[in-house]
């Protein structure tokens, strides 16, 4: 029961903050994405992300502190004690405060470039902070520094991927309702931009993933990948990751060129967009499964600490 609530509250924090950072990052490197927003419509989807993601992040943070309190003291009401007497509690408080300031800003200001910039920076800091409240903090001195650095890069690269996936999925779903050539052009452009950045994100995720496994599993414990709960959850994560890569390759080498071709033959656009809708949503669902595996890993004993 406790393990379950710890994992779910961790997942809520990961999903909301990676979305916040990733969507903001996508909008900053892909200016064309704006073309599809309906100007002047207050509840247009980008604004809802700026309101919903920080709210879920804050609720997830406090729920996680309560779950930690329940696990440490047997009662969730002692979450305040956990907050003030542990380092992870203090970091969680900072996380909630940053998300709170972003939420207030999003309520006051329109989602223009300045607000997205703020969401990108604050979201990035919040995402990076997970390296200080989980297994990323394992290791001391220069080894600890490298592990943390790898963890921060891993988290940010994951955010870039998740944010682009979610944005493109929403754009495709919306444009299937309107089917204007301008929408198709925006999506084709967005896919092309992400195809340029995606490989860098994947390389960073792979390299830093190897560094993290070095610290948390270790070469001499490689068999633990197959016979410990931690190892099995990590393998599940890798399987979901590889499936995401396969879908990403389909987007890049098959559907993106088809969409480019459809720009010249608008009649075929709907057909390509429908295929994209299926595969983008599937890839987003796999991303959620990867995050769920990570949320579970946080509660399991890494092989390196088993003696």
């Amino acid at each position: 029961m406790i393990d379950w609530t710890l994992s779910v509250t961790r997942l809520l924090q990961f999903a909301s903050t990676l979305t916040l950072f990733g969507v903001a990052a996508f909008r900053l490197y892909e200016r064309e994405a704006e073309a599809i927003d309906v100007p002047g419509q207050h509840w247009a989807w980008p604004r809802s992300i700026l309101l919903v993601a920080p709210t879920v992040g804050i609720l997830g943070t406090f729920a996680w502190l309560m779950a930690e309190a329940e696990s440490l003291t047997g009662t969730w009401t002692s979450w305040g004690t956990v907050l003030i007497s542990t380092r992870f509690g203090a970091i969680a408080a900072v996380r909630a405060a940053l998300l709170g300031s972003l939420l207030v800003s999003a309520l006051i200001w329109a989602p223009a470039k300045g607000l997205w910039m703020m969401a990108g920076v604050l979201g990035g800091v919040v995402v990076a902070s997970f390296a200080w409240t989980g297994h990323g903090s394992i290791g001391a001195g220069s080894a600890g520094l490298l592990h943390r650095g790898a963890d921060v890069l891993h988290l940010l690269a994951a955010g870039v991927w998740v944010g682009a996936l979610l944005t493109l999925s929403i754009l495709v779903v919306r444009s299937l309702q309107t089917l204007t050539p301008a929408d198709t052009r925006s999506i084709a452009h967005g896919l092309a931009r992400f195809s340029a950045i995606g490989p860098a994100a994947v390389s960073i995720l792979t390299l830093t993933g190897v560094v993290n496994s070095w610290y948390l599993v270790g070469l001499e414990h490689w068999h633990a990948l197959f016979n410990t709960p931690y190892g099995l959850a990590l393998m599940a994560k890798l399987v979901f990751f590889v499936l995401m890569l396969a879908l990403a390759a389909i987007h890049r080498f098959w559907l993106a060129p088809q969409l480019q071709a459809a720009l010249r033959r608008p009649a075929s656009a709907a057909d390509v967009l429908r295929k994209l809708r299926v595969s983008l949503i599937a890839e987003t669902a796999l991303a959620v499964l990867v995050l769920a595996a990570v949320a579970k890993l946080g509660s399991l004993q890494p092989p390196v600490s088993i003696t």
Partner: protein
């Protein structure tokens, strides 16, 4: 980013990570007992304090240890505040008589809230 620059950045990152992971000492994970006074399995004269040293910083509010005598009765101890964030210390409220004592500890990592437990025994002459 142009292709050539991207390739250089990736290669650079890869070299850095590989080099660093080769020299980096394998890290410890979660709070483990590194040393204790009296030491595990030691035979000592009645100790004034019991001191436990862990591998990483612990959340003191949630970390403690219990001392039991040969018959399994709990011996009351008074916690002593230590400046060191990695250790726990307590003083038996009365001098320990001869016998085998067991220290059962619980240490919660201040970084991620993981609880580790363990126990060891020592003998008082």
């Amino acid at each position: 980013m142009p292709k050539a620059r991207r390739a250089r950045t990736s290669t650079g990152l890869m070299t850095l990570c590989t080099a660093a992971s080769l020299w980096a000492a394998q890290a410890q994970a979660h709070a483990k007992l590194v040393s204790a006074d009296p030491a595990p399995s030691a035979t000592v004269t009645a100790p004034k304090t019991i001191h436990l040293e862990f591998s990483e910083e612990i959340a003191k509010k949630f970390s403690s240890f219990k001392l039991t005598d040969t018959e399994g009765n709990v011996v009351t101890v008074m916690t002593i505040q230590t400046k060191d964030a990695k250790s726990l210390e307590a003083m038996p409220s009365a001098a320990l008589g001869p016998g085998v004592y067991t220290v059962s500890w619980t240490a919660v990592s201040t970084d991620d809230g993981h609880r580790m437990t363990g126990s060891y025994s020592f003998t008082v002459q």
